[in-house]
């Protein structure tokens, strides 16, 4: 189809055409970036955590009074929890993936190094692999004799006696790859605090951190340290996913019965914990989706409005064209092509704008570079919206009878 007459018509409506192009460009730019941001959030929310996500329940307890012998009472609690019907494995852990608050460690590759290489989440607790369902890809789990109570570790640190600190450590595959790319991490040393050496004895397939995702979501390590029950630690029970509610209920009853003089701070399934952790991301993704929809609707309505006016305005010339032999199809295609041209120009400008917005976001919001695949997505979306919006007015134009040409206005 010859597009020359379309251009010469648009030349007569330069200003209006420019406005429409600008609107499409802005919409295209914003929608491209918004879809990208939505994708980012969704991807984050889908992050595999490396644990048996749907099989875990947790209870957080706290003493009412300041009491000694917490280690022994913790052991008693764990023994009681093992008796809970349906519980396959039980542990006390200092933090959970996506739990919100965390203990972290600065890691160095040599004792002389003054700059931290990476900061990693520090998990502690006995019986972790079987309870959390974390998989080892290399090396071995801790032996029972390697575990040390946390207060002994603190006492050793206070006394400056570094021999009493447990040296073996499990690290994630991502962390190993970051520290020693392409090498076998087993037996390698890493350094924490002022040159305390730890030895890698095993590599976990995956274990995400409780929070601080900007420090590397997949950088975690495990120390063979036994934790006491406190308001910051979690009793974790693993069970079949359909048993979770009932296991949680009987666990709480058991703990209460064993020692009524305490408070249940928090309890739930790990899935609920994950939901809470991502609630802001979910809200943000929802907002982005609604803004995208609103933008596309407004743009579509704008196209409908303008196209309708143009059709009405050119009523007579359409009639003349029909009288001179143009078919309904010709008229329909004319308006469709016109819209396609305008949308394409808008999209072209929109791409440049989208790139600019992305640069702004990179500088201010720690957003990665917009991948090229989002440009065709945005373009396709706008072409579709444009064609759908112009169809109604174009059909109306095609319905203009040739006799209109003979009428005076």
């Amino acid at each position: 189809m010859d597009i020359k007459p379309i251009f010469s018509t648009l030349q007569r409506h330069k200003f209006t055409a420019c406005l429409l192009i600008m609107e499409i460009a802005l919409t295209c730019a914003i929608v491209c970036n918004a879809i990208f941001l939505i994708g980012q959030r969704l991807q984050l929310m889908q992050t595999p955590t490396g644990i048996a996500e749907h099989e875990l329940v947790y209870v957080q307890m706290a003493d009412i009074s300041d009491r000694p012998d917490v280690m022994a009472r913790t052991e008693a609690d764990l023994a009681a929890l093992r008796q809970v019907p349906g519980a396959k494995s039980v542990m006390l852990i200092n933090q959970l993936p996506f739990g919100g608050s965390s203990s972290n460690m600065d890691i160095k590759l040599s004792p002389e190094q003054t700059k931290t290489t990476i900061s990693v989440a520090q998990y502690m607790g006995e019986n972790m692999l079987s309870t959390l369902g974390v998989h080892l890809v290399a090396g071995r789990d801790f032996r029972p004799d390697e575990f040390v109570d946390i207060d002994k570790v603190y006492a050793a640190l206070r006394a400056g006696d570094l021999t009493a600190i447990p040296k073996p450590v499990l690290i994630t595959q991502a962390m190993a790859e970051r520290l020693w790319p392409g090498q076998n991490p087993l037996g390698k040393q890493l350094y924490v605090a002022q040159g305390i050496p730890l030895t890698v004895i095993g590599v976990m397939k995956e274990l995400v951190r409780p929070n601080q995702r900007n420090n590397g979501l997949h950088y975690s390590l495990f120390n063979p340290v036994r934790m006491p029950m406190s308001s910051g630690t979690y009793y974790v029970l693993r069970c079949a996913s359909q048993d979770r509610e009932q296991v949680l209920r009987s666990a709480v009853v058991k703990l209460r019965k064993l020692d009524p003089n305490r408070i249940v701070l928090d309890k739930g399934t790990w899935d609920e914990m994950r939901r809470d952790y991502f609630r802001d991301d979910r809200a943000m993704a929802g907002i982005l989706v609604s803004v995208c929809l609103a933008l596309l609707i407004v743009t579509a309505l704008g196209i409908v409005g303008l196209a309708s006016f143009w059709v009405a305005q050119r009523n007579r010339s359409i009639g003349v064209r029909r009288a001179l032999g143009a078919t309904r199809g010709n008229i329909l295609h004319y308006f469709q092509t016109e819209n396609f041209l305008l949308t394409t120009m808008g999209i072209g400008l929109g791409m440049v704008l989208a790139y600019g917005i992305n640069l702004f976001l990179i500088v201010h919001y720690e957003v990665p570079r917009l991948p090229l695949m989002y440009f065709p997505i945005g373009a396709l979306l706008l072409w579709m919206i444009g064609q759908a919006a112009v169809l109604g007015p174009a059909l109306r134009a095609a319905g203009v009878p040739p006799v209109v040409a003979t009428r005076s206005v």
């Binding site: 914003i30 600065d106 570094l162 701070l265 809200a283 907002i287 407004v298 201010h364 206005v409």
Partner: protein, 434 residues
């Protein structure tokens, strides 16, 4: 004239109800979205203590070792036990308070309420007068209570309602961690937002339930919650925070004049130099002294998502406006014939311009009012969100004014261009063409 233009405008708008509705809706949606997000942004970046915040400062000093050191690096956000105590005892400011947060098991006297964890602020006597905390009943404690590690407690109005039905509970006993405390004060309505003096439990978190003298809390081994940042080989043993190389305390001072601020800053530098000279500080003096608003800015308390949402909404408004300009222009240009007749009959360009502007002004005003309603609806939706800042998202007088200003500006902007282009029709040409 005004009445006549109004009549003409309404008449013309009525002729094309769908289009008019579309334009109003576009403006309303744009304004509603931007005002919702701007109001949230405005509320979240508000001044927690208007009138006072300018003279409240939080000192930062740098006791860390040389790991990760670089010139110009920020000192830690919090203070260690030794430094916090030194600054408190030095009393170099008009007022000063040391504080940290924790959870304390509270056993209500009523058997009907189960024991629960109360959010506690452990602080020193000046906290109340320095922050201008209002009391419903009783008072805060004095320096003597701090020194004596007195078992006294100040409770929030909310907790007083829960435990004592809102009656005067001063003098009554409260059992915390199985120890008897005497209630000496009940707070009035006091909810500084953001929660500037303690950001570690959430910038817009709920206020504390109880306020316990700082040294009493240490004496009774009350639990510390919040961030504990350690260096060296000390580990963050929560039971020995007095003896480890960790920062975990917040400290605020009141400095009334610029001279006092300068003097306090040099006091901090001198102290750091002294500590550096005797070997306790590895780094040369590295201090900061920020007031409330500077501190909130430095801590970036406003969630970056909120700012992103504001940008998003504003760009949405721009698209809506461009859309409205386009529609308005099309509408005006179609009436070129009618406008030329009016010109030919003697109406001046200015008269036409006024008439068209009136038309777009009406669209804008209606859109603005609808936008305001949408913004109120939007804020209501925000308040239904689970985020901890959600509950404070309310429209205030200043944002109301901004909303109206924005909608009038937006609509005039949207009307100006089309009106200007349309009123420049050349009547002879138009009439001849028809």
């Amino acid at each position: 004239m005004f009445g006549y233009y109004l009549d003409l405008a309404v008449h013309s708008l009525k002729r094309n109800k769908v289009l008019t509705g579309l334009m109003v809706l576009a403006i309303a949606m744009g304004i509603g979205a931007s005002m919702t997000t701007l109001t949230v942004l405005h509320v979240l970046s508000g001044d927690p203590l208007p009138g006072r915040s300018g003279s409240l400062y939080t000192p930062q000093i740098d006791p860390l070792d040389l790991n990760n050191y670089a010139p110009g690096v920020e000192p830690p956000d919090q203070l260690s036990w030794i430094d916090g105590n030194y600054l408190l005892k030095a009393k170099r400011a008009t007022r000063q308070a040391l504080m940290t947060e924790g959870m304390v098991p509270l056993q209500p006297a009523q058997p009907s309420i189960d024991p629960f964890h109360a959010v506690a602020l452990y602080t020193t006597a000046d906290f109340f007068p320095m922050f201008g905390v209002p009391f419903q009943y009783g008072n805060g404690w004095g320096n003597a209570d701090d020194d004596a590690k007195a078992r006294v407690v100040v409770i929030s109005a909310k907790l007083n309602d829960k435990l004592f039905g809102g009656k005067n509970s001063v003098g009554k006993e409260l059992r915390l961690q199985e120890k008897a405390f005497r209630i000496i004060g009940v707070l009035g309505d006091w909810h500084p937002q953001p929660h500037f003096y303690q950001l570690y439990m959430g910038s817009y978190a709920d206020d504390e339930d109880i306020f316990v003298p700082f040294f009493t809390s240490r004496d009774l081994h009350m639990e510390h919650d919040g961030s504990t940042d350690c260096w060296g080989n000390s580990g963050g043993d929560p039971n020995n925070l007095e003896h480890v190389n960790c920062t975990w305390l917040q400290f605020w001072v009141q400095l009334d004049t610029p001279q006092a601020v300068a003097a306090y800053k040099s006091f901090l530098v001198n102290y750091s130099q002294e500590q550096h000279d005797n070997g306790r500080f590895a780094r040369s003096p590295n201090v900061r002294l920020r007031n409330v608003m500077q501190w909130l800015d430095y801590q970036q308390v406003v969630p970056s998502d909120t700012r992103l949402q504001a940008w998003l909404a504003i760009s949405f408004l721009v698209v809506c406006l461009v859309n409205t300009v386009g529609l308005m222009l099309a509408k005006f240009m179609r009436r070129a014939g009618e406008l030329s007749v009016r010109r030919a009959l003697g109406a001046s360009q200015r008269a036409l311009f006024g008439q068209l502007l009136m038309e777009s002004g009406i669209v804008g005003c209606v859109g603005g009012v609808a936008g305001l309603l949408l913004a109120l609806l939007g804020l209501w939706l925000v308040r239904q969100q689970p985020a901890d800042y959600a509950k404070i998202a309310h429209m205030d007088a200043s944002m109301l004014v901004v909303t109206f200003a924005l909608s009038i500006c937006a609509s005039l902007l949207a009307g100006l261009l089309p009106a200007w282009r349309a009123c420049r029709v050349t009547p002879a040409l138009q009439l001849k063409a028809n």
